[in-house]
Every structure is written in structure tokens, then in C-alpha cells.
């Protein structure tokens, strides 16, 4: 069984998350710049005295493919490293991966992680 762990985190927390995942032996991650809003619904700022709403806050999406045995540990590690305790720390979730293939060799399944 292969799992895809996905996290949406604060951009400035990427370094600790990356280091934490490397330290626990994760072989690769994919990071994407994303924007979104959560329960707080953004915040207002001013530019030249006029207000504007930042309702889509910049975040980073981190994706990790791992075996079933490592998945819980990866989730915990991301939470530990991305945690600040303030609003907007993000979310981590996990789903099953149906098929996995390495482009270069054609290896399938656990071999391709």
C-alpha cells in the first residue's frame, strides 16, 4: 500500500519541514506555491491609504509519497515542523495511491518510491 501525504503550510515553515522529512529518511518531496483561505478568511491591508482584502493567502503545498509504514510518521513530522501555534498553520492529509511508476526505469509500486 502506497500513501500520498499532502500538507499545506506557511511558506516560511518549508525549511524546518524539509529538514525534518530528510532526517527521517524521506527520499523526495514535491513543493508547489499555492494560495487559499481558511476559517479566518484572510485579512485587510492598506495601499496608498485604500484598503484591500488579502483573502487568498500564499501557502506552500508539500507532497510526499511513502509506504504505509512511514505515512503516520511523515504526517506527525510535518505537523511538528510546521507548527507555530498561530492561525494559518495549515493542514496535512493522506490518501491512498492507486498506482505509482518511476518515469526513468518503469519500476512500479513500492520500488518506485
Amino acid at each position: 500500500m502506497i500513501k500520498l501525504v499532502t500538507a499545506v503550510i506557511k511558506p516560511q515553515m518549508l525549511e524546518p519541514v524539509k529538514d525534518g522529512l530528510k532526517d527521517m529518511g524521506v527520499q523526495g518531496i514535491t513543493v508547489t506555491e499555492v494560495k487559499g483561505f481558511g476559517r479566518q478568511g484572510g485579512h485587510t491591508e492598506t495601499y496608498r491609504g485604500a484598503e484591500y482584502t488579502v483573502d487568498l493567502v500564499p501557502k506552500l503545498k508539500v507532497e510526499v509519497i511513502c509506504g504505509l509504514a512511514d505515512a503516520e510518521g511523515v504526517m506527525e513530522m510535518i505537523r511538528k515542523c510546521a507548527y507555530t501555534g498561530k492561525i494559518g498553520d495549515g493542514k496535512v492529509w493522506m490518501i491512498d495511491l492507486e498506482r505509482l511508476m518511476r518515469v526513468r526505469t518503469g519500476e512500479m509500486g513500492d520500488e518506485a518510491i
Binding site: 491591508e45 492598506t46 495601499y47 496608498r48 491609504g49 485604500a50 484598503e51 484591500y52 518515469v103 518503469g106
Partner: protein
């Protein structure tokens, strides 16, 4: 002949010239030897030409300020407007503008003579005709380019190009003739005084900008359904601040250069210019900080320019303390003015109307308040016990120039709107002007590496590599 031999021969020849011909040459030159006055004339010409180059460099500053305070999707259009208002303006001012402004013929309201820099073209004192022209054309281009920022992100390029010709060739030169060209403002019993152009240049641009922005209407999305102004963020604050600094540097040509001579006054003018710029930036920063809770960068940059525009009329006439007060007041005025125009739905993305129009008028009037003493060119101001004679002349000049420009620029933009059209279509405005007006975006498709948005933008072709077949 070897290299050494050549050198020896050359040296001998030079020595011979000095020994034999030198005396004769010296005697011949004695009749045309340069006097101290000749040197001063040359120095004046060199100084004013260098000052003109600094003023022309302000075009780069205007371009960057405008680009920085607007959105990336119209940045190429903004660069194009700034490039073309200089080029169209230079040719128009060369052809007719310079003659209308300074031609010895004509009357109190416009000059004639010296069309295309031909016979009778104006020269100031001992400055040559070309040097006088280059300095003045730089100023004409400044007045023209001020308008660009207020009309940014929604104006048809074709219409803006036509406007540039009209302001540099006709509207600005007429105003210049009234004062610097020896027209009716210079002939008032107490002559109107605008040393480097707070109103002659900046307010002309600012009022034309007001008319342009008013006829155009605000950008889509600038005002919410409730009519409240919404912020449309500029895409590059470093551009805006770099542009502001370039304008500051250019102002050392604008103000000291307007002395039109390399004399003892230019240093003092540079000092008042500096003090007003610094004071304006600081008070604008404090004003916006108090108003919205944070020291807004773009507004602070506007404050520096406001201080510069404000001091430009009185830069030679006021004390250093006077310059600080004028600059500081301009910094607060510009913030208030930006809020005011936002509220009455005049959408000015860069604050050009407030900086150049409002602070230009304010700075011109300040001459009547802060001039420290009577001279051949201005009377002592009200705050120094000089009475109101200069102040009255300043107000007359400001009102007359503002009304004239408002009417002529208003007619110009209305005619453009009715004929070629002033505003781009709604679709074009939303998409950005770059591609639809000029064919290509300001920031090319490879600005984001790895995400080509056009075909054949440098990535691999789609041929399947054989290695993947196993």
C-alpha cells in the same frame, strides 16, 4: 624603420615645432586669447547642457514610478507611452513649441519666430541656441510625461500619442510664453515668479492629468459597488522607489540648471531642493502612517516628489528653513490630495495630479509667502514683511495657468474621445494593454521558468525519446 627610431623621430619633430613654430603660433593666438568672460560663457553653456541631460534622465524616473505603481499586465504600454511622449514632444517642441514659447514676434499670449530652430530662434543671454533649446525641450517633455501616470492602464496608445504632440507643441509652450517667454505674467506690475516651473511645468502636467483622468473615468474595479475606493496594488515597489530617486537626481538639473548660469547661486538652490525633498518624504510618511496605521512606501515616494515640486518655484528665493517648511507642508498636502481625488472618483494610479498639480500650485504661491528679500526677479514674501504684492501675482498666475490648461486639455481629451476614442475596450483593459495595444507582454512567457505559455518558447519538442520505450 624600427619602433624606437620612429619614436625618436616623432619626438624630434615635436621638439622642432615647439622651438621653431611655437613663437609664431603664440603671437597669432594672442589676438584671439580667451578672456575670463569667454571662459564663463563656456562654463555656463556646459553647465546648462549637463543640467538638461539630468532633466532628460527624469524621463526614466517617470517611467519607473508609473510602471512600479501599476499592474504588470500593462507595463509595456507604460514604457511605450513614456518613450513616445518624449519623442513626439521633442519633435513638436522643435517644430513649433519653441517658437510659440520664446519667439520674439507675437504678443503677450504666444510667441512667433524661430520655427524649426530657424532664423530668429531664441537664445538666453550668452547661452547658445542649441543649449537653450535642449534645456527647454527637456522641460517640455517633463510637463508632457506627468500626464501618463494619471491615465495609466486604460488609455488608447494612439490617443495618448496625439495628446503628447498637442501638449508639447501647443499647450505647454503658450503657458511658458506668458512668463519665461516675456508674456503677460512677466509684465505684471510685480512679475509672476516661477523659478524652475512648479506651475509652468508641473502644474501644467498635473492639471492636464486631472482632465485626462476625469474624461477617461476610473479603472474597472477601482471603486466597489458601494462607491468606496479600492486599492489596486502596484506591481513593483522597487521600480517606483528607484524612479523616485532618479527624479530626485534629475531635479538637480531641473532647479540649479534653471539659474541658466554656472554661478554662485546654484549650490544654494541644490540645498533648498534637497531639504524640501527630504522634508516632504518624511511628513508624507508620517501622515499616511497616522491615517492608515503603516508607513506606506508608495505614498512616501509621492511625498518626496511633492516636496520637490513644491520647492521648484521658490528654490532660489527662499531660505533653507523656508524650504524645509514648504517641503514638509507639501508632504502633508499630497497625502490629503490623494485621498481627496480618490473620494471624488478621479482615479490617478500614481498620484500625479496630487504631486504635480496640487503641490505645483502650492509651491508657486509659497514664493509670495517665503521669499526672503526683494530682488530684480521677485518681491519679499508676506511672512518676511514684504506685503502681498508678490503673493497676489503668484495667485493670479496659478489661477490663470490652471484655468487655461483645464480648458485646453479638457477640449483636447474630449475631442480625442469623440474621434479616435480615448479609452480601450473593457476586455482589453481587463486583459492588460500590452498584448492588445503592442503585440507582446512586458514580461515575456519565460518569466516563470518551466511554465511556457506559448508554443516554441525554448523547451524540448514533443518527439518521444526512444529510451522510454522499455
Amino acid at each position: 624603420m624600427t619602433r624606437t627610431a620612429k619614436l625618436v623621430a616623432g619626438g624630434t619633430l615635436a621638439a622642432a615645432v615647439v622651438a621653431l613654430g611655437g613663437g609664431a603660433a603664440w603671437a597669432q593666438e594672442a589676438e584671439t586669447v580667451m578672456t575670463a568672460e569667454d571662459v564663463q560663457v563656456n562654463l555656463d553653456n556646459v553647465f546648462v547642457l549637463v543640467a538638461a541631460v539630468l532633466v532628460i534622465f527624469m524621463q526614466a524616473g517617470f517611467a519607473l514610478v508609473e510602471a512600479g505603481l501599476t499592474r504588470a499586465k500593462s507595463v509595456a504600454n507604460i514604457m511605450m507611452k513614456n518613450m513616445m511622449d518624449f519623442c513626439a514632444g521633442a519633435l513638436a517642441f522643435f517644430a513649433v513649441g519653441y517658437a510659440i514659447a520664446f519667439g520674439a514676434g507675437g504678443n503677450d499670449f504666444f510667441g512667433t519666430g524661430g520655427w524649426f530652430l530657424g532664423d530668429g530662434a531664441f537664445q538666453y543671454g550668452t547661452l547658445t541656441v542649441p543649449v537653450t533649446f535642449i534645456f527647454q525641450v527637456a522641460f517640455a517633455a517633463t510637463a508632457a510625461t506627468i500626464v501618463s501616470g494619471a491615465m495609466a492602464e486604460r488609455t488608447k496608445f494612439k490617443s495618448y500619442f496625439l495628446y503628447s504632440i498637442a501638449i508639447s507643441g501647443l499647450i505647454y509652450p503658450i503657458v511658458v510664453h506668458w512668463n519665461w517667454g516675456g508674456g503677460w505674467l512677466a509684465g505684471l506690475s510685480t512679475p509672476f515668479h516661477d523659478f524652475a516651473g512648479s506651475s509652468m511645468v508641473h502644474m501644467v502636467g498635473g492639471v492636464a492629468a486631472l482632465m485626462g483622468a476625469a474624461v477617461l473615468g476610473p479603472r474597472i474595479g477601482k471603486y466597489g459597488p458601494d462607491g468606496k475606493p479600492r486599492a489596486i496594488l502596484g506591481h513593483n515597489i522597487p521600480y517606483a522607489v528607484l524612479g523616485t530617486f532618479i527624479l530626485l537626481v534629475g531635479w538637480y538639473g531641473f532647479n540649479p540648471g534653471s539659474e541658466l548660469a554656472a554661478d554662485g547661486a546654484i549650490g544654494g538652490i541644490a540645498v533648498t531642493t534637497t531639504l524640501a525633498a527630504a522634508a516632504g518624504a518624511i511628513t508624507a510618511m508620517l501622515a499616511i502612517w497616522a491615517k492608515s496605521g503603516k508607513p506606506d512606501v508608495a505614498m512616501t515616494a509621492n511625498g518626496m516628489l511633492a516636496g520637490l515640486v513644491g520647492i521648484t518655484a521658490g528654490t532660489a528665493a527662499v531660505s533653507n528653513v523656508g524650504a524645509v517648511i514648504i517641503g514638509a507642508a507639501a508632504g502633508v498636502i499630497v497625502v490629503t490630495a490623494v485621498f481627496f481625488f480618490d473620494r471624488i472618483h478621479i482615479d490617478d494610479p500614481v498620484g500625479a495630479i496630487s504631486v504635480h498639480g496640487v503641490c505645483g500650485a502650492f509651491g508657486t504661491i509659497c514664493v509670495g509667502l517665503f521669499a526672503t528679500e526683494d530682488t530684480d526677479f521677485w518681491q519679499q514674501g508676506l511672512f518676511y514683511g514684504g506685503g502681498t504684492s508678490q503673493l497676489v501675482s503668484q495667485v493670479i498666475g496659478v489661477v490663470a495657468i490652471a484655468v487655461f490648461v483645464a480648458v485646453t486639455a479638457g477640449i483636447l481629451f474630449t475631442v480625442l474621445k469623440a474621434t479616435v476614442g480615448l479609452r480601450v475596450s473593457e476586455d482589453e483593459e481587463l486583459a492588460g494593454l500590452d498584448v492588445l495595444e503592442h503585440g507582446a507582454p512586458g514580461y515575456g512567457p519565460d518569466t516563470t521558468p518551466g511554465l511556457p505559455s506559448t508554443s516554441r518558447s525554448g523547451g524540448r519538442t514533443t518527439t518521444v525519446p526512444t529510451g522510454a520505450s522499455s
